[in-house]
Amino acid sequence: MKQKLTSSVQIILLLALTAVGWTGQSYPGKPKIIRCRSLEKETFSCWWKPGSDGGLPTNYTLFYSKDSEENFYECPDYRTSGPNSCYFDKNHTNPWTTYNITVMATNEIGSNSSDPQYVDVTSIVQPDAPVNLSLETKTSAGIMYLWAKWSPPPLADVTSNSHVYHYELQLKPEKKEEWETISVGVQTQCKVTMLQAGVKYVVQVRCMLDRGEWSEWSSERRIQIPNGESPPEKPTIIKCRSPEKETFTCWWKPGSDGGHPTNYTLLYSKEGEQQVYECPDYRTAGPNSCYFDKKHTSFWTIYNITVRATNKMGSNVSDPHYVDVTYIVQPDPPVNVTLELKKPINTKPYLVLSWSPPPLADVRSGWLTLEYELRLKPEEGEEWETVFVGQQTQYKMFSLNPGKKYIVQIHCKPDHHGSWSEWSSEKYIQIPTDFRVKDMVVWIIVGVLSSLICLIMSWTMVLKGYRMIAFILPPVPGPKIKGIDTHLLETGKSEELLSALGCHGFPPTSDCEELLIEYLEVEDSEDQQLMPSHDNGHPSKNAKMIPKEKDSDSGRGSCDSPSVLSEKCRESRALPSTLQTQDVRDVQENKEGKRSWETECIASEQKILLFNNESTKETTWPATQLPDNHPPMFAYHSIVDAHKITMTTTNVNIASFLVGNEEHKSQYSITETVHDDMEKQREMENLHSKTDQTTMQVIKTRPNDKSPFLNPKLMDYVEVHKVRQDKETAVLLKHKENSGKREKYTVPGTSKEYTKVSTVVDHNILVLMPDSRIHHTSVIQEPAMEMSQNLQQGQAEKNMSYCLTVPSECKRETSGSEYMDPSSFMPFK
């Protein structure tokens, strides 16, 4: 029990301790704004001292408001002036504003704000101290003086570095306490006289901007004022150089002369010799230099060189300088740089650069071997292109931009050691533009060639396109045609067959061939299992079928929507109606792949039309109890019909039809007639009247947009047919309303359907009766509708088969719809 008690006590204690520990973490202490300061009246910074952080990470935020506004802003820049500071740049600094500044410390537990600080920028200006203070003693007319120089304080914002500062300089002997202050003014240098010789002085400088505060004093500089008793400072050997690997020169920089005239002596010793020599020639290379002529120049030998400065007070020797002349060769720049533009025939011009080695360098003997490097750039260019050319003194440049002016320079260097010479003087060369013209020619040729290739490609695409697409998108299963005499079709008479298929020489033969192939495909598909409906079977194909009047968008989804499809088909039909044979040819000449589609579509249209014409006679009309007296003219229309019928179960002798066709009329005339028909039909549609019409389009009616298969009851069907003007055969629509309504047959709700033949007048006029139940009419181009309707009406199989054939044609245009699958009709029987 005791143990338990103690342990529980311990636990309690621990808890208490932890609680204390927790309470040890608190909101941060109060920060304090130490100072605010502007270096140059255009910007300013404030620094603060953080309070205790409360044992947690603490964020500091500086807020400020202006006397002119109510708003609070946060510090624009915490970084520039270091930690715990805020920098107000030019845009945030207004000399006419008083700023109310607060710093808030925040940690997890809470926050604490400093006392506000009011800042008037003008009153807090204090520049940084001047920099780069340097001191020098000089003697003028026997009087020693001190020459002090410095630079204004650097600013963070370099662009505003144009302030005028006032400077003050203070100096004192090193061992004294009192400073002597000299007001300098706005200059950054100062001459101080009346100095004690032999005393070391300490110098500082500070500056002030307008009426602000003085800056801090700059860092101290010390200088020994020579007392006239001192020797000169030791000189420094700057460099030695041999321009031609035969002689060399060394230069030195004297130190302070100690206030007395000073002599400089160069002394050297050579490797392996104890003897010290003096410079042989102080003059040739100018002041403070020593020239070693050929006699005094040895190679593969180290020179130990020193310079001694001597005045009457004493002397001082420089640090030794070790020189092996082999390694200090720096030639003069190459000379005689010439630029020549060569223009050989049949080739691009090129630039030949040539130059000579520097005259001093004896390259011929082989004593000195030089290597060259050249650089060039366009006159306005920024970057040099550098080319190392080895020992050659000539270089050819081939790839230069024509029409530009180039700057060329060359320098040289000994083959192993030493350093590069200065660059030779700039040479300019203008590259002529004439080979731009050649380029142009090349480009033109390239362009022509590529466009030719494009043309050929597109041409082949046009020729092969249909097959390719048929290959990529396999043929839609065609209708299953009963009773077709395949044997007949297979056993030759291809010409007859061809003509029977509707290639009446109107579309070009190539298209005819394709059409023929299509028909054969239909034949082949007889064996296939036919699917009821592939609604979205081949939308892409569908899209391609769109006549050019329609944009591709409208084609999309047309498979899904029968009404749209019919619309499209209508347009397809409308197209040929406006075309003469000539027009068709024009269309063919379109180079785009659409061409074949369009023409084919036209051809199909015509076939449909032909077919429809015939069907009017052969199927629909009988169905609507039209008398079976066909004018002779129909005989050639029946070519199409014959074909259709062949495909159906009707026992029509196709051969006889074909023969009949050939006997009757030339195909050309047929085509013309068809066109004529179509044109007239179009007119009729446009005029909304049937006055004097020689042709009428077969019009089918359909209930609405819904799939006919799903809604067979609504199917309705009327074909209004054509015919010959001279025979005055016509189908009249019997409206209750104005005939103008027919114009809107594609618009749901406003259209009429004609389901019944009202009367037949004079053997020529068929009067149709609108179906009051149905408010939608569409054109013949909806074969599926036709079929459905036929089915619904329980018409003869003949009719049905006719309907089936129509889709087989139209399907190629509207491949996605697939309405005509016979199997789907079968149940309706």
């Binding site: 392996g272 040895s298 593969w300 180290i302 011929r364 003997s365 082989g366 004593w367």
Partner: protein, 230 residues
């Protein structure tokens, strides 16, 4: 028609023969400059020999400079070796031309012999350098392989120079004056500073002498092959 085919075959054969003949003659042409017809002394020209020697000496000096610079950068910084290196090359006993005038005045046979002497003087130290350099603490590969390469190339150059000397003045190949190198113990000193200085000095001398040889060879080439008009 048979005669026709025969004639075409003959033509073809003729063409093939002609072409192959041309090719063969062309191949023969390429070897002409070096070995003229029936020449007994079928050998490389002196100019070619000098070209090769100069290329080799250039390469050796390039390597020597590199190895010296690398060593200097790595081991000699702040040790003031240069001040001690004065007067320390074992080949300094061979009196060589020290400037252009001297080099131009000396007879080319003497200069050739001097080159031979310097090259021979380096045979021994280079062998030791190549082996001893591997004992330098953390010696980088670049230094190691250069030491080996310099040794090999120096031998090749020596062979080439002997050939040139034999060509320039036949029969007088003797004169094997060269400086003995006694520096092996210094390369094996226990005191690292002294040992590194020994290496430094040797490499410094190698750089200098290889430059000498290169310079002399270029001079000789211009003098003997180009008649002092390079």
């Amino acid at each position: 028609s048979r005669t026709k085919t025969q004639s075409t075959e003959q033509c073809l054969l003729l063409v093939v023969l002609l072409v192959s003949n041309m090719l063969l003659t062309k191949e023969g042409v390429t070897s002409l400059p070096i070995c003229p017809n029936g020449s007994v002394n079928c050998q490389v020209s002196l100019g070619e020999l000098f070209d090769r020697a100069v290329k080799l000496s250039h390469y050796i000096h390039f390597l020597s400079s590199e190895i010296f610079n690398e060593f200097d950068e790595r081991y000699a910084q702040g040790r003031g070796f240069i001040t001690k290196a004065v007067n320390g090359c074992h080949t300094s006993s061979l009196t060589t031309p020290e400037d252009k005038e001297q080099a131009q005045q000396i007879h080319h046979e003497d200069l050739l012999n001097l080159i031979l002497g310097v090259l021979r003087s380096w045979n021994d130290p280079l062998i030791h350098l190549a082996s001893e350099v591997q004992r330098i603490k953390e010696a980088p590969d670049t230094i190691l392989w250069k030491a080996v390469e310099i040794e090999e190339q120096n031998k090749r150059l020596l062979e080439g120079m002997e050939k040139i000397v034999g060509r320039v003045h036949p029969g007088e190949i003797g004169n094997d004056a060269y400086s003995q190198w006694e520096g092996l113990p210094s390369l094996q000193l226990a005191d690292e500073d002294s040992r590194l200085f020994a290496f430094y000095n040797l490499l410094h001398c190698l750089r200098r002498d290889s430059h000498k040889i290169d310079n002399y060879l270029k001079l000789l080439k211009c003098r003997l092959i180009h008649d002092s008009n390079c």
